[in-house]
């Protein structure tokens, strides 16, 4: 027993010496890394300085006939909700077949730019009885500010699987609330008071996520050189994946076309 004890002390002293000697070199890089992220670092993703990053640009299109804009009937609180017409947002295709609201992400990246590239704060507004934006992107653990600009009762009902589902009322007088989601996933949200209201919250595990604009374009910047799998997700048409190779300082093209039956 006594021998053992001496050994323990000897070992602990040795360990102390080692950490004392090796410590200094590491701290500087640690600090640099910490400085680079205002948003908490995510497990499985390492932030590094991007010096000669490339970009991925592309356009998402739809091969089928451009669907007609479908008007959604406003049946409740018309003086607030009915100011602007509502259209079905489940598939928005521009005249030149560009597909809007497609979530694009790099699905196999473990290090790259800092999380603050996602923006300091993400706001989800309930305005005119619609979720604005239709799809919000927020990194796991970061705060999502939920605004009620309508001044009437709304509620945020999340249909999440990995995160605990919530259904919180936001009465008219409560202009602002904050929520965060810890697990990456695409969460459908709805308002039970106004059944036409729908949207999505994309909880991300790294900053390489974006959404296509009205004409189907997107860009991911500061991507370290390498070959990646890009994943596209559209709420009605589902998922597609392609490979893209980014060269240092270069721009990779990554266009995809959704077919009617995909």
């Amino acid at each position: 027993m006594r021998k053992m004890f001496v050994l323990v002390i000897a070992m602990s002293m040795a360990a102390l010496l080692l950490t004392a000697c090796g410590g200094d070199g590491d701290t500087t890089t640690d600090k640099a890394a910490k400085k680079a992220t205002t948003v908490a670092a995510l497990p499985g993703y390492k932030v590094m300085a991007i010096t000669d990053g490339g970009a991925i640009k592309g356009r998402v299109t739809f091969s089928g006939a451009v669907p007609a804009k479908k008007k959604v009937e406003v049946t409740k609180d018309i003086n607030v909700c009915g100011k602007e017409p509502h259209y079905d947002a489940s598939m928005l295709v521009s005249d030149d077949k560009g597909l809007a609201n497609v979530v694009v992400k790099i699905s196999n990246i473990s290090e790259g730019k800092g999380m603050d590239a996602m923006g300091e704060s993400v706001e989800l507004n309930q305005l005119g009885c619609a979720f604005k934006p239709h799809i919000s992107i927020v990194s796991a653990g970061a705060e999502l500010t939920i605004l009620n600009s309508d001044g009437i009762l709304h509620n945020i009902h999340t249909y999440s699987e990995k995160n605990t589902a919530i259904n919180v009322a936001q009465p008219g007088f409560k202009k602002k609330m904050r929520r965060s989601f810890s697990e990456p996933e695409i969460i459908r949200i709805a308002c039970d008071v106004h059944n036409w209201m729908g949207g999505y919250i994309v909880v991300t595990d790294h900053p390489y996520y974006t959404i296509t604009d009205a004409s189907g374009n997107f860009e991911l910047s500061d991507v370290p050189a390498g070959t990646y799998t890009l994943e596209y997700w559209q709420e009605t048409l589902g998922k597609m994946t392609i490979e893209a190779t980014v060269e240092a300082g270069g721009t990779a093209e990554a266009n995809v076309e959704y077919a009617t039956d995909s």
């Binding site: 950490t19 018309i78 259904n167 008219g172 709805a190």
Partner: protein
Amino acid sequence: MPKRSDIPLEEREYGHIYLILAGLLALTTFWAIWDMIHERAPWQRYQMTFNAMEKQNVKAELGSLLEEFNASEGETYQSLQDQLAEAKVKLEGEAYKKLEAELAKAEIRLEDAMQTYRFSKSEYDAIWYLYKHAEHEGHVNEMQKLRSKVDALNAEVVELKKGWDDAETARAEVETRIAEIRGTVDNLETEIAAMREPITELEGKIERIADRKIKIEQFVFGNFVRGNFESYIDRVDRCTSCHVNADKSGYEDYAPPFQTHSNRDVLLKIHPVNQFGCTPCHDGQGEALRIPHAHGTVPHWEHPLLAGNMIDSGCNKCHSKEMKIEHAPNITRAKRMFFDLGCYACHDVAGYENARKIGPPLNAITQKTTPDFVYHWVVDNKSFRPHTRMPNPQFTHDEATAVTAYLSNIAKDTEYTLPKAPRGGSAARGEELVESIGCKGCHIVTQKDREIRVTDVSYDIAPDLSKIGSKVNRDWLYAWIRNPKQYHPGTTMPRLRLTNAEALDIVSYLMRQKESDPPASMIDGVDLTSPELVAEGKSIVRNFGCHGCHDIKGMEGEGKVSVSLNEFGGKTHDELFFGDALAKGEVAAETWDDWTMGKMHNSRLYATEAVVQRMPNFAFGDEDARTLTMLLKSWDGRVIGQKYLHNPGRLGEAIEKGRRLVRKYNCVGCHIIEGEGGYIRPTIVEAFKKSGKGKDAALSASPPDLIGEGRKVQPHWLFTFLKNPVTQIRPWLSVRMPTFEFPDGEVNVLIEYFQALEGMNVPFSEINIELTSEQKSAAETLFSAEYLSCFSCHQVGSKKPEGPPEGWAPDFLLAPERLNPDWVFDWIMDPQALQPGTKMPGFYPDVAESLPNILGGDADRHVAALRDYLMNIRKFANRL
């Protein structure tokens, strides 16, 4: 060499015989020892192996703990050790020794002072006595003489007392200084010990493992099972001699015997090993210590270890009365099957004595269908309805003809009269109704339903209606769906309160569901009225026991046609008749398991030319066959001691009765109860898809999940509702809660069941809620559109919310009679906790915090005001 017999006895040589015998004895001894260790006591090796393994694990744990300790607390630990060493040096130092000498001196001084004081005090006491004596005697002179002495001595005593006190103070002072130095050491030692506690604990564990004795472990359970002479016999289990760590977590992934018991934290918590042992559930030979013997896989051991799929059957020995056994899904499913399939109709089984007949009456069969249909049905019902729960009678042509003749004959005398159904009806509207009012809670109507409507069993609980038009006639169907009890008083098919027009629509839709290729008549030209044929049919019906499931006139008092199953699981293979199946290779081996599985796959498997088998053919698939075989295995006739049997208690019994009713009426077809059921849901989603509506809309239009129902609603309301469910709680549902015409007894069982599920002991309680004026005005503010905006979704009598009805929520006016105030409070406070996924959003506590001016911003007071207002809402309804 002289002959041995010639040598005198005392001179004969015995040395070589002794040598051989001694050699044999030595060999036998070695053999005995070897056998003892290697053959008879595998448990010794297992225990040693396990101890070595555990020791290694603990050492590894200790190693990593030390590493962690050194990394995180090494520095602190070292500094504490240094401080301790320093403090100990002080203990050895000159200063401390000096203090100790000082203490010795102070103690001597104290002793001296005490001594001197005591002498002086006794001297004073003596003089004082003399003085008092003189006073008593009145010797004034004497008194005066003594007076000065008394005073002098008194002064001396006081002085000496002070000296004593001083000496005591001096000693205390030295002691404090010593304690200071000692205390540092003690504190440091305690602190170090506390820091090292997890390490010391593991070290102790290693020592304890090393000290562990290799010995037979056993548990004895008194009066476990009834023997042949009515008395109860004890049982001894030594299984843990080999399965050393079955009750230790952390060895889940090890190979047996070192594997932790599966689901240990739950199962062994409910059944502690020292109370329930191993063989009560697993069977085998508890006392034995060699592997095959202990597992009972030796000849003539009647209850070998239950292995593989049979494991669950062990649960049923003590839980035989329960329909649902927690943590044993297979046996639970088996019991449901047994109950649903009406096995008790032909077999005697304890606990099913008064169970109902599950089939329809056959006394007016020709009013419902044709003799041709009856003929084909009794020849091969599965070809018409592959999923029917009625087993296949598989009658031969002659048998079927006779049975058809008999059934047609008794139908002539029926008192049941069938009115003509009116003409007309729209099949399209009928289809819509069938899809929307809830028929698909129990019935399959289309092929699509078959694909999407998945239940917990493989057979249909109610008839598949996809070919109903080829079975029944229009008039019968019209009468039946409007009032099923008229034709079949014992039916569980409820009334859906159809209007005549609705019934007609449904009938015209259903009558179009026909068999694509109906078989040709096989009884054309047969005289079904022939008395011989009728008599033969009657005898077949009686012999085959059709009256077990069906009401048949003239067979009311008939008994069960087959054997009792109460001791079936205990039969040995030589008590079972295998027919030619073994020879033909249709059963794998001559065992109970194989026999029973064979019978489940094909009830007629063991029929030979000489031996007729009458059991109708269930033709179960593999999984169902195994499930039922497992249940049969558990009925082995053994009577287990009372104290081992599960005692459900009053609430448990109420739950048990309720579960049977829920099964009987198939409430789970529509509702989710105890987390199971809601089988109608996919069909509603499908119907909604047709009209372009999404899954969410479909689910909110589905019959409600009855989670927490017993606590949610008031029993009196539930009674009235179940008797006559016309109150529309959710007007947006097109699914109708049907009228089951439950007898009062059954309604009470259901109420008690829902309450028992919530652990409620008192069924009825007085509800009298006072609403203060402060609460009233607060609640009115909160209800309003500017605040919680409750009327945005909730209906209040005739005042409806905006928007389409599917977005509405229940009428507040129902609350005072329907809802339990305690539940209302919890519901408003956190709806998701009571019903995960509900559309009712949570307002509290956030809302209260943002409204400090209302009831002090206190969430409890807010919610209480809302509840109390709601429970009194009828008083204010017209003003809302």
